[in-house]
Amino acid sequence: MAQTIEEIKAGLPPVGNSIVNGVEVELSEEEKEATLNTWAENERARQLDEEANGWLYGRQSEYPSLQDCIHALLDGGDTLTDLQAARQAVKDKYPKG
């Protein structure tokens, strides 16, 4: 469940200063508040995306490669059975939300 903006802001670190050409430049309170709000909005968007698509990203990163799939389809038999089992294991690890 994605956190609210206020919950996220409460857990974020204080906004640091800007470094311009190697020199530290202090941000105003208004600039820090604006940055904190942007951070919180970005984090909430990330959490919502993870809720909606996390299963997809997980599967994409761990499915057998296209080369392995083609190899298994052409070979058939145990090679194809093993590949299907490997794909199902990834699906089980990352169920649809």
Partner: protein, 218 residues
């Protein structure tokens, strides 16, 4: 300690010039018609790659390299971000171009590229992709244990034509411990002269890195 310079003609014949005294902190080499001082940030006469600026932030909300673009002297710029560590897990390192007054340059940043994992089979090619007012240099940063990224960036500012170009390459350990290599290029079509660049995380500070800006002379 004394210092010396060995001048070799390539055939085993050489001359050694020795300074019998003590060398101070300022070490200067002079060759005909060119004079420069080593180990400074402005060694403009020593070669093609010139160190223009560097920063070693700790807990900074952003890193800016401002007003460094000089199209009459440099054909491109190289930016190295060493071992970037994020404050907040699973965050993205963004960049935005700056104009002459250090303001963000808005517009549609168009992207293509690819990424591939090193320890799982996943990979992806990215095309026909845009973002408004910024691009990303690296994504899904981690902040746990050894997780970090190192980025090498080639930046070609707009000059006689409008299009500013940048190529971001990074290698590192993602959030969650996966190793990754990525290469993404961006183009921004703008008549605004690009004069600088700033880096910042989607969420949280840049906990640590060493950022160095080089110019490649024409």
């Amino acid at each position: 300690m004394p210092g010396s310079i060995k001048i070799d003609d390539g055939s085993g014949n050489y001359t050694i010039l020795t300074n019998a005294g003590s060398l101070g902190s300022d070490k200067t080499i002079t060759i005909p018609n060119e004079t420069a001082t080593l180990a400074t940030t402005t060694a403009t006469d020593l070669g093609g790659l010139v160190k223009l600026a560097s920063a070693t932030p700790s807990g900074a909300s952003e890193i800016q390299f401002a007003n460094f673009v000089d199209n009459s002297t440099y054909s491109k710029y190289k930016i190295i971000l060493e071992e970037v560590i994020a404050d907040t897990d699973a965050s993205i390192l963004y960049f935005t171009f700056l104009d002459a007054s250090d303001a963000d340059v808005s517009g549609t940043y168009k992207k293509s590229g690819y990424y591939a994992y090193m320890d799982t089979t996943g990979h992806s090619f990215l095309g026909n992709s845009t973002s408004s007012g910024f691009g990303r240099t690296a994504f899904n940063f981690g902040n746990v244990s050894e997780e970090n990224f190192t980025c090498e960036i080639d930046f070609y500012p707009n000059n006689t034509k409008n299009i500013a170009k940048i190529n971001n390459r990074y290698i590192g350990e993602w959030s969650g411990g996966t190793y990754l290599k990525s290469d993404e290029a961006y183009i921004l079509d703008t008549s605004t002269a690009i004069k600088g660049i700033r880096y910042y995380m989607s969420t949280g500070n840049i906990s640590a890195t060493k950022a160095t800006l080089y110019g490649v002379k024409k």
